[in-house]
């Protein structure tokens, strides 16, 4: 019954039938016991009445005893007196009941199988000078008892069989949504991830299962879409420098050039190689980050010092565009994080701000604690801002708010993805507040000391 090879449906049906069989057996047994007891009670009452009648007649009108069989219908009895020869009815002799009653002793009501092939109920009582024994044929009652027993015994397997069939059918009906879901799920492949399982009643067990499965499918669909988009973007970005290299090289080989020209051509090709290398490096960094193999080594970092350091690195770029670059921090703010990774993130954010802010703009870097006491670094620019539609996706790899702004302005659209990774790897997150034509504010929010400390030591092996 517990064989794991049986289907859930069959197991349910068998369990169902098993329990039903147990119930039927117990119930039938109880009925039989009860019926049997009440049947014998009737017979015994009849016997008792007969004995009383015989006793009275024998005591008061002994000569009438021979007429008892004819008058009262008591056909099976015998009377044994001390000094007289025993008296018994004709039927008593015929049924061979003499052997059933021991001489001159009392006997409780007892069932007895006579040599003539019938069942009798026999009882004997002792009076001071005589004993009386009487018997009643059980036949009809015993037959009806056995008929009942036979009916029950034959009905039980039938009921159990019915229970198996019915249980199997019912289990099949109940489980059919599972089968349908399985069939549907099997049809859903990478190409048809948009399809969903049918949800019958969203509040029952199967509905919940289907809903959960559909949610999983949605997430899978999203990540497939993102992967597809990423692959398309990545191959585009990889192909661009390759195309440039190939065409520059091929054109150069069309006609002999002077050495200076060749230098130009090779230099141009090497620039593309540089671009490819940077792209691959960035992608590798993000891949390592996603697979979790780049583990941050956390220590206490003073954010203002780190912001100063990064700003000094990039200040020349702002100066070239006559932008003012200010680092402000009223109070000392410490964070527990990996300084190298955070520096990389902030550098990308700041570089992004300088790149998109027009000449003469202003960029502010502020270190402060947020309203709920978390250490944060804000990078605010007076650039064009990011339309709300793009804000959610701006941190995705290769995503550009303005597709026209290609790699001419530098980079392949990985800077913000790297920045976000750097902050998330440190247990924080980046918030973005931006309004078109009013500039953007990127806020790095890092975890408080207590959140970060448990995982500070022994991470890098």
């Amino acid at each position: 019954m517990r064989s794991p090879r049986l289907s859930v449906r069959a197991r349910l049906a068998l369990w169902h039938a098993g329990v039903l069989m147990l119930i039927v057996c117990v119930f039938s047994g109880a009925i039989l016991l009860f019926v049997r007891a009440s049947l014998f009670e009737g017979v015994d009452r009849q016997l008792r009445r007969a004995l009383t009648t015989i006793d009275w007649v024998y005591h008061h009108e002994p000569e009438e005893i021979g007429d008892l069989a004819a008058e009262s219908g008591i056909t099976l009895f015998q009377v044994i007196a001390d000094r007289k020869s025993p008296y018994h009815t004709e039927g008593w002799e015929r049924a061979g009941l003499s052997g059933a009653v021991p001489n001159r002793s009392a006997m409780p009501p007892t069932s007895w199988f006579s040599p003539d092939g019938r069942w009798y109920r026999v009882q004997a009582v002792i009076e001071p000078s005589y004993t009386i024994a009487a018997a009643v044929e059980e036949g009809a009652r015993r037959d009806s008892f056995w008929t009942l027993a036979t009916i029950l015994a034959m009905g039980a397997p039938f009921a159990v069989g019915l229970a198996i069939v019915g249980g199997y059918f019912l289990a099949g009906r109940v489980l059919s949504p599972v089968g349908m879901m399985a069939d549907k799920a099997r049809e859903i492949t990478a190409e048809s991830l948009g399809e969903r399982l049918p949800v019958g009643n969203p509040r029952d067990e199967f509905g919940r299962l289907a809903t959960v499965f559909n949610d999983t499918l949605s997430r899978l669909h999203d990540s497939f879409d993102r992967l597809r988009q990423f692959t398309a973007d990545a191959s585009h970005e990889l192909r661009t420098p390759l195309t440039a290299m190939r065409s520059v090289g091929e054109v150069a080989l069309q006609a002999p050039l002077d050495p200076g020209k060749y230098r130009e051509v090779i230099g141009s090709m090497l620039e593309e190689v540089d671009r490819l290398t940077r792209l691959v490096d960035s992608l590798l960094l993000l891949t390592h980050a996603e697979s979790g193999s780049a583990r941050p080594v956390r220590e206490v970092v003073e954010l203002a010092a780190l912001a100063d350091n990064v700003a000094e690195h990039l200040r020349v770029l702002a100066e070239e565009k006559q932008q003012s670059l200010n680092v402000q921090g009223a109070v000392r703010v410490d964070a527990v994080c990996d300084p190298d990774i955070l520096r990389l993130g902030l550098m990308n954010l700041l570089h992004n701000a300088i790149k998109y802010t027009p000449n003469g703009g202003a960029i502010h870097v502020r270190t402060k604690t947020t309203s709920i006491g978390l250490p944060s670094i804000e990078v605010q620019d007076t650039g064009p801002g990011i339309p709300a539609a793009h804000q959610a996706r701006i941190f995705e790899r290769f995503y550009r708010a303005d597709p026209g702004r290609g790699s001419d302005s530098g980079g392949a659209g990985l800077g913000l993805a790297i920045a976000r990774w750097a902050v998330v790897a440190n247990g924080g997150h980046i918030e973005l507040e931006s309004e078109e034509s009013k500039g953007s504010l990127f806020r790095i929010v890092l975890p408080g000391d207590n959140d970060a400390l448990p995982s500070t030591s022994g991470k890098r092996t």
């Binding site: 770029l317 070239e320 550098m347 800077g415």
Partner: protein, 227 residues
């Protein structure tokens, strides 16, 4: 100076051989781990350039075997695997330095020179090229006896260029030596270019003879233009 190159990629091996021979090194090339190991343990070299991914015998394996045999030749590891574990394993196994492919040739040369020079103190406190002089102690730079005002980074870049004068200095080397940034996925290249433009304004623009040159796609160098 004899250098053993253990590299199975034929094009890379050929480029390394030619590039190093042009720098007047004597170069032997082994195309697999086993051959490289035999040559390195049998002959004496001043430096071994070791690729980590090799047919037959893995580079790390070759390196550990060499160190077990007490071969103390400096080993420079080249690896295409950009995994931290690999680097750590390489240096633990006894490598003296490593570069991740694709590397720039000037960077490789600079590192090789540094490795071969290692142990010898560099007492130079004054650097000079043509009429450009740098006093490291006083942190002063003059050209044709005119004092030049340089910012910290400009000074350090110029020092790096003077130390490698006549040779190309890559952006990567500058990022590492001047900005102390090892990771390459940083937006530092723009910063280097801008700083270089400003440095050139100060040391070259007022003078007729130009000293600082850009080699497109490779890097910068200080010296006479090779034309």
């Amino acid at each position: 100076m004899r250098i053993l190159v253990i590299e199975d990629e034929k094009k890379v091996a050929k480029a390394l051989r030619e590039g190093l021979e042009a720098e007047r090194y004597e170069v032997r090339v082994a195309a697999d781990g086993e051959g490289g190991f035999l040559q390195a343990s049998r002959d004496s070299f001043d430096l071994v350039l070791l690729d980590l991914v090799l047919p037959g015998r893995d580079g790390i394996d070759v390196l550990t075997a060499l160190r077990e045999r007490k071969v103390t030749t400096p080993v420079f590891v080249l690896t295409a695997r950009d995994a931290v574990e690999d680097r750590v394993r390489g240096l633990d196994g006894g490598a003296d330095d490593y570069l991740v492919k694709p590397f720039t040739f000037p960077e490789l040369l600079a590192r090789i020179r540094a490795l071969l020079r290692r142990g010898r103190l560099d007492p130079t406190r004054k650097l000079q090229h043509d009429d450009l002089r740098m006093d490291l102690g006083a942190r002063k730079v003059t050209r044709r006896d005119q004092s030049l005002e340089l910012t910290g980074k400009e000074f350090e870049i110029l020092e790096c260029l003077l130390r490698h004068r006549g040779r190309i200095v890559s952006r990567e080397l500058l990022a590492r030596e001047v900005w102390h940034v090892g990771a390459r996925a940083t937006p530092l290249d723009n910063v280097i270019d801008v700083t270089m433009v400003r440095l050139r304004r100060k040391i070259d623009d007022p003078f007729e003879k130009k000293l600082l040159h850009t080699v497109r796609g490779v890097g910068f160098f200080l010296g006479a233009r090779p034309e």
